[in-house]
């Protein structure tokens, strides 16, 4: 839907964004993580056509966006919710009317669109409130709803839930999930790795303006049924024993260091045991060995060279991987 190529931007000679390739696909949520000053906000502003990159190109639906006129046209289908969103003076309803009017939605249709969008983020009761008298969390929810009401093809959000409490944040992300299901390409930045893993299909890390790598091992998307405490969840052919109170979209993560590799099943308290065959053995550059195992899903464990020697395993060898239910992270 929206793609960036060789994107480069600088302020006062200091490079703030240098991204070789970045794509947002329709019907997909991308999480953007990185520390303060890593370039997340600038990248989002470039993607929203609010700033013009020094170099590089943005394409929308495969068409390059270069001129002022093209950027303006692109902004009608790409919208951004800033980290500290701005609401115009007036009521919350009037804030919706502004953008909707610009998209040709007036009168009763605009009222309905505003109320529906607010309800989606659980802020229906705010519709007649003075926009400037809202709390930080309420302002964020209204700003997200204001963007949702425009039904953009690409929705960009800079820390959309940073001022919201946990239930409000969940409501915001659930609304994004519904928008994704409608076919929108969504990208949000977050300080919270947990939010990025939980609510996005793809997590991109930004550091110093560059896209970095996030250890991708042992991350599995799933949908948790209602429930709490110790539970079982199926991911592909495997069943994971986990402990969580979360429901809905989630990412299951197992640190490679937490996976125990053995030749035979362990007689222990470990709840998760997976049989598989070694597909790859490699030094990890930090004095350890990564053992990649096909157990129906690809799982990666990290062991010491001494442990590898003791186990005496090679490529194709049958192994058992074990991990405690409490060591399985759920984001």
């Amino acid at each position: 839907m929206l793609a960036a190529r060789e994107l480069h931007h600088a302020y006062g000679g200091k490079t703030v964004v240098a991204v070789d390739a970045f794509t947002l696909a329709a019907g997909e949520i991308t999480g953007l993580v990185g520390p303060n000053g890593s370039g997340k906000s600038t990248l989002l502003r470039l993607l929203a056509f609010l700033e013009t990159p020094r170099r590089g190109e943005l394409t929308l639906r495969g068409t390059p966006v270069r001129t002022r006129r093209e950027r303006r046209a692109a902004r009608r289908v790409v919208t951004l919710v800033e980290q500290a969103p701005f609401l115009f003076a007036g009521t919350v309803r009037e804030n919706f009317a502004y953008g909707l009017r610009l998209h040709g939605v007036h009168g009763a249709a605009a009222r309905t669109a505003a109320e529906e969008a607010l309800a989606r983020v659980g802020a229906g009761e705010l519709v007649e409130r003075d926009a400037r008298a809202l709390s930080g969390g309420e302002t964020q929810r209204v700003a997200v709803a204001r963007a949702l009401a425009l039904r953009p093809d690409v929705l960009l959000l800079d820390e959309p839930a940073s001022a919201a409490d946990r239930p409000a944040a969940n409501q915001i992300y659930l609304a994004l999930e519904a928008e994704r299901a409608r076919g929108a390409a969504i990208c949000f930045s977050s300080h919270q790795l947990e939010d990025a893993y939980r609510w996005s299909a793809r997590v991109v890390a930004l550091a110093g303006g560059h896209i970095g790598t996030i250890t991708p091992e042992n991350l599995f998307r799933t949908d948790l049924p209602p429930g709490s405490g110790a539970r079982e969840v199926r991911v592909g052919p495997l069943t994971f024993h986990i402990v969580t109170d979360k429901t809905g979209p989630a990412t299951i993560a197992i640190a490679p260091d937490d996976l125990i590799v053995s030749a035979a099943p362990l007689h222990s308290s470990v709840r998760n045991t997976f049989r598989g065959r070694v597909t790859r053995l490699a030094e990890d550059g930090r004095g350890g060995i990564t053992v990649t195992v096909d157990a129906g899903l690809t799982l990666t464990a990290r062991i010491t060279p001494a442990a590898l020697a003791e186990l005496g395993i090679g490529i194709g060898a049958p192994v058992v991987l074990s991990v405690k239910a409490t060591a399985v992270r759920v984001y």
Binding site: L50, R72, L80, L150
Partner: protein
């Protein structure tokens, strides 16, 4: 002191008695000032918007020039306008010298920098998120400007009031290009100067009191607007 109080008494008498000379001059002054302010704002506010919101080479110099022009002596403006409008001047053929239009033109030159400089300051102080928000909601350049103007409206109105006050109280340009002709180009300020030089202290006091009342009204309005602007952080 007796002379002074006698002047005050007579001035008050002229005002309370509805003296047609005093009120004729006052209405003429207000009319000229309103037309000049309107024209100056029509030029100065868009100019201030461009200077305040866009990036261009020499922006700092443009802002400095505008701020310098705020302190431009009115007699010099009158002098330049006279040079342009005098029979031998480039615009002499228009025959505008010593007409109310000449006063308006000189006062427009005086007020444009005020409207432009205060507009630039007002829009520069608007939260940058206003512009970005309008753009992300699909606004084009004009609607984006409008959103910024709406946020800065009290500060912008303050600029209009300051320009009106300056135009109303100015004497040098009106005297030089207007000629202080009775019933034609005599403004409150030029009439005060003339009445004083003619020794009609009572009439001068009456005109002065009207001018003062107008100045106070303008300032009260300004205070109210600035109070609203401060309360909104704009």
């Amino acid at each position: 002191m007796g002379f002074f109080t006698e002047g005050l008494r007579r001035g008050a008498q002229l005002i309370l008695g509805g003296n047609p000379e005093v009120f004729g001059i006052a209405l003429f002054s207000i009319r000229v000032a309103l037309v000049a302010t309107l024209l100056a704002c029509a030029i100065g506010i868009p100019l201030g918007f461009v200077v305040g919101t866009t990036r261009f080479w020499g922006k700092r110099a443009a802002l400095t020039a505008l701020n310098t022009m705020l302190a431009f002596p009115t007699v010099v403006i009158g002098l330049l306008a006279w040079g342009l409008l005098a029979r031998g001047g480039p615009l002499g053929g228009l025959g505008l010298l010593y007409t109310w239009i000449a006063i308006v033109l000189a006062e427009v030159v005086l007020a444009v920098p005020i409207a432009a400089a205060l507009t630039a300051a007002a829009v520069q102080s608007v939260d940058p998120r206003v512009r970005r928000t309008a753009l992300t909601l699909g606004a084009g350049p004009l609607r984006t400007y409008w959103a910024v103007a709406r946020e800065a409206r009290f500060a912008l109105l303050s600029g209009v009031v300051v320009a009106f006050g300056r135009v109303l109280a100015e004497v040098g340009a009106a005297m030089i290009v207007g000629g202080n002709i009775r019933h034609q180009t005599r403004t409150l300020t030029t009439a005060v100067a003339l009445a004083t030089s003619q020794g009609d202290f009572g009439l001068a006091m009456a005109l002065g009191m009207v001018l003062l009342a107008l100045a106070i009204t303008v300032n009260v309005l300004l205070q109210l607007l600035q109070g609203r602007a401060d309360a909104r952080g704009a």
